[in-house]
C-alpha cells in the first residue's frame, strides 16, 4: 500500500476513542528485539544490516495482521515523508534520521508499526486512543509471539531480551501514555508532578520523546526501567501513576473553574481569537493555543463533534504535515507559518464561537463570572 494512501487517513489512535481520552490522548507500547548472534545496527556493517532487514521484513510482512501493510526502506522515503511518520509517532526521531539498511512497516489503521534497524534490529509498537495500556500491550505481545516462531530473538536466561542499550534490557518494553495537562500547567503544578514521577523510576517527556520540548501541554509518561519486573507489573505501576496524574489534572481544572474562571475563559477566548484571525503562526504557538481550545471542548464550550477537528489540527499543523500534499520544494519557515495560519482559520470557521454560558457553574459561589470578581 502506498504511503500517500495511508497518511490521507487519520490514524486510529487520533480519530478513535478510548477510556479517559479527554486527558489521555493515546497509549503506546513498544518492544525492542534483536536477532541472536548478529551485531546490533549501530555496530553492524551495511551488508549485515541489509541481511537482518530482509529477514525481519519478510517475517513482519507475513503476519496475518499485517495484510495490506505499508512497507518501505527508509532510503526510498523522502525526508518529508519520514518526518510525517515521525509527527504521527509511527517512527521515532532517531529512525527518521536513518537511511540505507533500515525500513518501516505499518498496518493501514496505523495501530501497529515496526521499525527495522533502529537502535535495535526490531522495534515494534502498538498505539491506541485513550488510556488502555493493557489492551495495547496484549496487541503487541501477540505479534511478538507470532514473530518469535520464525525469528530467533537474542534472549539471556538472567537478563531477558538483549538490547543495544543496557537501559532497555529485560522486557525491552517501553509503555507510555500521552497526556494533555493544561490544568496542571496553568496552575503551575506540572513541574512538581514531573519531579515526583521521575523519582519513582518513571519518566515524563515532551511531545516526541527523550529530550524534546513539551508543546501544547502534551506530556509522555513512560517506564524508565525494564529489568526486574514483569511486563504486567510495569504496566500496573505505570497505570497507578497515570491514574493519579489524571486525577490531579481533573482537580486542577475544577479548581481553575471555581477560583479562576475568568482567567480560564480569557485564555480560551483569546486562543480562539488568535487562531481565527492569525495570518502567520509558528507550530509551537499553534499547539499551545490549540491546547486551550481542546480544554474548552472538554469543558463543553465547543460542540463534541468539533473535537476531532481540533485533535487533527495538533497533527496537521506540524511542519511536515503542512507540506505533505504539496510537491513543491521544501518550504521555508515563514511560508509554513502562513500556510499553517490559513489551515487553522479554515478549520475553525466550521466551529462555532465558544459558548461561555455553557461553562459548568457549580462551585462559583456568589461571584458571578460576568463581573470578573474572584472569590
Amino acid at each position: 500500500m502506498k504511503l500517500s494512501r495511508i497518511i490521507a487517513n487519520t490514524g486510529e489512535w487520533l480519530s478513535g476513542s478510548g477510556p479517559h481520552d479527554q486527558i489521555v490522548v493515546s497509549s503506546r507500547v513498544r518492544l525492542a528485539r534483536n536477532l541472536k548472534g548478529k551485531p546490533f545496527p549501530g555496530w553492524a556493517k551495511k551488508a549485515e544490516r541489509v541481511a537482518v532487514l530482509e529477514e525481519i521484513r519478510s517475517a513482519v510482512e507475513g503476519l496475518p495482521e499485517m495484510e495490506n501493510s505499508f512497507s518501505e526502506r527508509l532510503e526510498d522515503l523522502s525526508p518529508l515523508e519520514k518526518q510525517v511518520l515521525m509527527e504521527r509517532h509511527l517512527i521515532s526521531r532517531e529512525h527518521a534520521a536513518r537511511g540505507a539498511g533500515s525500513a518501516v512497516v505499518m498496518n493501514p489503521e496505523q495501530t501497529l508499526s515496526f521499525m527495522i534497524n533502529e537502535e535495535d534490529h526490531l522495534r515494534m509498537q502498538a498505539i491506541r486512543a485513550g488510556l488502555q495500556l493493557e489492551e495495547v500491550y496484549a496487541m503487541i505481545n501477540r505479534t511478538d509471539s507470532e514473530l518469535e516462531e520464525t525469528l530467533d530473538f537474542a534472549f539471556h536466561d538472567e537478563l531477558g531480551y538483549l538490547t543495544a542499550c543496557p537501559t532497555n534490557v529485560g522486557t525491552g518494553m517501553r509503555a507510555s501514555a500521552m497526556m494533555h495537562l493544561p490544568g496542571l500547567v496553568m496552575s503551575e503544578q506540572v513541574n512538581k508532578i514531573i519531579n515526583s514521577v521521575n523519582k519513582i523510576g518513571l519518566a515524563v517527556r515532551g511531545l516526541h520523546g527523550e529530550g524534546t520540548e513539551a508543546m501544547g501541554n502534551l506530556f509522555q509518561v513512560s517506564n524508565q526501567t525494564t529489568l526486574g519486573e514483569t511486563e504486567e507489573e510495569i504496566i500496573a505501576r505505570l497505570n497507578r501513576v497515570i491514574a493519579q496524574i489524571l486525577e490531579h489534572e481533573q482537580n486542577a481544572r475544577q479548581i481553575l473553574l471555581q477560583q479562576r474562571a475568568e482567567t480560564l475563559l480569557d485564555q480560551i477566548g483569546r486562543a480562539y481569537g488568535i487562531l481565527c484571525h492569525a495570518h502567520s503562526i509558528t507550530s509551537k504557538e499553534a499547539l499551545n493555543l490549540l491546547s486551550f481550545i481542546k480544554m474548552g471542548g472538554d469543558l463543553g464550550l465547543f460542540p463534541p463533534k468539533s473535537r476531532l477537528q481540533v485533535d487533527e489540527l495538533f497533527i496537521e499543523t506540524q511542519p511536515a504535515h503542512l507540506q505533505k500534499g504539496l510537491h513543491a520544494a521544501k518550504m521555508g519557515a515563514e511560508e509554513r507559518d502562513s500556510l499553517r495560519a490559513a489551515l487553522i482559520r479554515a478549520k475553525l470557521k466550521q466551529m462555532p464561537e465558544p459558548e461561555i454560558g455553557k461553562i459548568p457553574t457549580n462551585g462559583f459561589g456568589n461571584a458571578s463570572p460576568a463581573t470578573g470578581e474572584h472569590p
Binding site: N34, K36, G37, K38, P39, F40, G42, W43, E119, N141, D144, S145, E148, E149, F153, A154, F155, H156, D157, E158, L159, G160, Y161, L162, A164, C165, P166, T167, V169, G170, T171, M173, N195, N198, G201, G211, T225, T226, L227, G228, E229, T230, E231, E233
Partner: protein, 193 residues
C-alpha cells in the same frame, strides 16, 4: 567543548564527583543538565542519573583491551556510544555491566516474558543450578545418600538438555541413570585439627 549527553550543544555545566576514590567528570549543556536533574546537587549521583556516562565508567573496571569474540566490540567503543555491539557483549562485559544494570533497573534478573521456544530450556537451567547448589550443600553436610540422588537428577536433566528439543531421551539411558550407583560420591578427606 560539547555536552557529553546530547553531543551537539555547548557544555556550560561541569561536574566532578568522587566515588570510591575514583574521579568522574561530566560536561553538560544547560538543557541536558536540567533534564538529568543536575540542578539539585544534594540528591545527585552521577552513576545513577547519567546512565550512559555512568555506564561507561562502570565498564572500565574490566581489564583493559578485552574485545567481544563475536563482534570485536571494545570498552572504548562502549564509552563512545553508550551502546553494546551484539548480544554476546552482555557475556563479554558481564562483570562491568552487572553493577551498572543494578543502578539502572529495579532488579537484575528478568522475570517477564520468555520466548516460547526457550521457556522449557530456561526452566531446566534454573532447575539445574538449584540442584547443583543443593548437591554442594548435601556434600558439605556429608549427606551422601541425598547427594547421590541429586547427582542422578542433575545427570538426567543434563542428558535431556543434550537431546534435540521435543525428543525423548533413550529409555535405556534413563534406566541406567536411575539405577546406576557405580560412581559413589566419596567425601573429601578432612584434615584433623
Amino acid at each position: 567543548m560539547f555536552c557529553d549527553v546530547c553531543k551537539s550543544k555547548e557544555a556550560t555545566v561541569f561536574l566532578t564527583q568522587i566515588i570510591e576514590g575514583k574521579m568522574q567528570k561530566v560536561n553538560l549543556c544547560e538543557g541536558c543538565s536540567k533534564e538529568k536533574g543536575v540542578n539539585d546537587p544534594t540528591g545527585f549521583a552521577l552513576a545513577d542519573l547519567l546512565l550512559g556516562l555512568g555506564a561507561a565508567q562502570e565498564i572500565e573496571k574490566n581489564p583493559a583491551g578485552i574485545r567481544c569474540p563475536v563482534c570485536s566490540f571494545s570498552q572504548a567503543d562502549f564509552k563512545k556510544t553508550g551502546r553494546l555491539g551484539c548480544s554476546t557483549c552482555y557475556d563479554t562485559f558481564a562483570e562491568g555491566l552487572s553493577g551498572m544494570l543494578k543502578n539502572m533497573h529495579r532488579g537484575f534478573i528478568h522475570t517477564g516474558k520468555v520466548p516460547a521456544r526457550l521457556a522449557v530450556s530456561r526452566l531446566r537451567n534454573q532447575e539445574l543450578s538449584k540442584l547443583r547448589e543443593e548437591l554442594d550443600r548435601a556434600v558439605a553436610a556429608e549427606q551422601f545418600e541425598e547427594a547421590a540422588g541429586l547427582r542422578d537428577r542433575i545427570r538426567h536433566l543434563e542428558n535431556v538438555a543434550d537431546q534435540q528439543p521435543g525428543q525423548e531421551p533413550p529409555v535405556n539411558r534413563i534406566a541406567e541413570l536411575s539405577e546406576g550407583e557405580s560412581e559413589p560420591i566419596v567425601p573429601k578427606p578432612r584434615k584433623q585439627s
